[in-house]
Assembly symmetry: C2
Homo-oligomer: 328 residues x 2
């Protein structure tokens, strides 16, 4: 296809691999190269046609790539890579350190404005699609409460916290919304609920031989910030069962606004996701917003944007006229 959008990827972990497969689902896009800090030859390739390059080569691609998808982490990669790549490319990223978003936005915005590029930050589902739904439902129903539930899904942070306990060989932690709390919110009751009252923590743990499972369970359940405040369930299983049943990365959640319109009628707006693969879904969102970044830039809208500032129409390969005809 002519006029395909030429896409580059920085970082080849779960997210980067998801972006590769998402681009293959979009015929208006073409993957030009993947840039990694590792030695490109060291990466075992299941798709021989990928152009794997060391990140130091990236400047050579300045005119070959319409939009660069940054697949690094928020802790250390993106704070450096976001502004750096915005100097050379249109970019999208999934920066998700909530408290530092304004600061990150400013640094990417400065770089993108100087280069005349367009960067969309904090793309994904939360932050991302959930944020859009919070904004829209609050604007439509100014009187009301917004609730976010996460799960069922694997929390990497909580799984890691369990794995750091002595005597733990392997562990996966699922965040599970508490049905009773969800039902109360869906009914429009607008209850006061802490995060702990909304979520259950369910752990599957493999213990090392010679360690006391009761001790491990106690250590998990009393861990401050991670588990102590929550209702926590600990299940010990075998290494085989962990590998067999708990190696995928499902996730999801709901954003529910319980509001009241002017005549005191209850109005409930809900947005929900049920995802078999959390990283693949985030990758799919990144790719749709990569299309938007490219288009916004072609229209001269340089600088940083969040998903909140992007008109929906830019996400689709169809024209505005086609979308009005087919989807309105």
């Amino acid at each position: 296809m002519n006029n395909q959008i030429k896409v580059g990827i920085v970082g080849y972990g779960n997210l980067g691999r998801g972006v590769v497969s998402a681009i293959q689902q979009n015929t208006d896009m073409k993957l030009v190269g993947i840039f990694t800090r590792r030695s490109p030859e060291s990466i075992s390739m299941n798709q021989a046609d990928l152009n794997m390059q060391h990140i130091s080569e990236v400047e050579k691609y300045k005119n070959e790539i319409d939009v660069m998808i940054l697949c690094g982490g928020s802790a250390t990669d993106l704070p450096e890579q976001g502004p750096k790549f915005a100097k050379m490319f249109n970019t999208v990223d999934s920066y998700d350190t909530h408290a530092k978003i304004p600061e990150y936005f400013d640094s990417v915005n400065k770089a993108a404005r100087e280069s005349g590029k367009t960067s969309i930050i904090s793309v994904g589902w939360d932050p991302g699609l959930f944020s859009i739904n919070r904004l829209m439902s609050e604007a439509i129903l100014p009187k009301g409460e917004t609730y976010t539930f996460w799960g069922n899904g694997v929390s990497q942070g909580h799984s890691d916290a369990i794995r750091r306990i002595e005597g733990v060989k392997g562990a996966v932690q699922y965040t599970v919304p508490i049905n009773e709390a969800v039902d109360r919110v869906r009914s429009g009751e607008n209850p006061e609920l802490s995060t702990a009252e909304k979520h259950l923590r369910v752990c599957y743990v493999v213990s090392e031989e010679g360690y006391d499972q009761e001790e491990i369970e106690k250590e998990i359940k009393t861990m401050p910030n991670y588990f102590a405040e929550y209702k926590t369930e600990v299940n010990f299983i075998t290494e085989e069962e962990l590998a067999e049943k708990h190696s995928s990365l499902p996730h999801g959640g709901f954003v529910i606004r319980g509001g009241e319109s002017g005549g005191e009628n209850k109005q409930i707006i809900e947005f929900s996701l049920k995802l078999e693969s959390n990283p693949e879904f985030t990758s799919s969102v990144l790719v749709a917003y990569a299309r938007a970044a490219h288009r916004l830039n072609k229209e001269g809208q340089a600088g940083a944007k969040s998903v909140l500032e992007v008109p929906p129409v830019y996400l689709s390969p169809k024209t505005a006229a086609e979308l009005r005809r087919d989807l309105l």
Copy 2:
């Protein structure tokens, strides 16, 4: 408050009344006047401070109103009023004759471009919020199917159709999504389903004395287009019960996209509404988009737009920086 957005309303039916109460929930907005074809004095007023004017007075308000909310119907009012008011004011409307949207868009767009005003058309929930969700979920998951379910809710068209039958004194028809179909869609099965396979029609009917209820029931159930294709349930009730239990206008529905990301993982996106008052909710959406029309116009974005083309950030009274900080 200074700098309040000055709003006008054309038409004072269910929707217009909903807009009045929605504006009262938004402190950044102020209602300037309501324009009606009826004699303004003939309208019984429960809010004495409303400035009710005959529609012929509207030109005098050209410089007094930032955005005009058109609350007329799609059949005859809006095709005439949409382009007419776009020549004088920024406008929003809830035009919903799906097949004629492109034509309507063009006529409003022409008028708005000439006047330098901004008009947002087809605002509400379907078309409107549902359309945005169809677009976004299809762009994110290009491989998949999108399903729309409506209900539980009152269908005015179907209720009217029953009322036209001889021997029927009153009737209300609820469109009800069939749970089994919803569950299949939510599971990611992506079944083929006709509208009739997705919805049940539940009717509450008051018959005139001396008419055969069985005859009426048969006439309802065999009515082509409206009921013949559907599983239809007819309940005869008293006039009192109809007035008491079936005089509100609840509605709602779901848009569900069952998709598959690149690695063949199922991903389900769902947007749903549960509304105690359909017209009040539509009014609330209109008011949020009125804010957007005013702002887009201040930024020089003249012409017609649909909701698909409006960045979410314009719906909120907060600034983009506040929204990034608080909602991302």
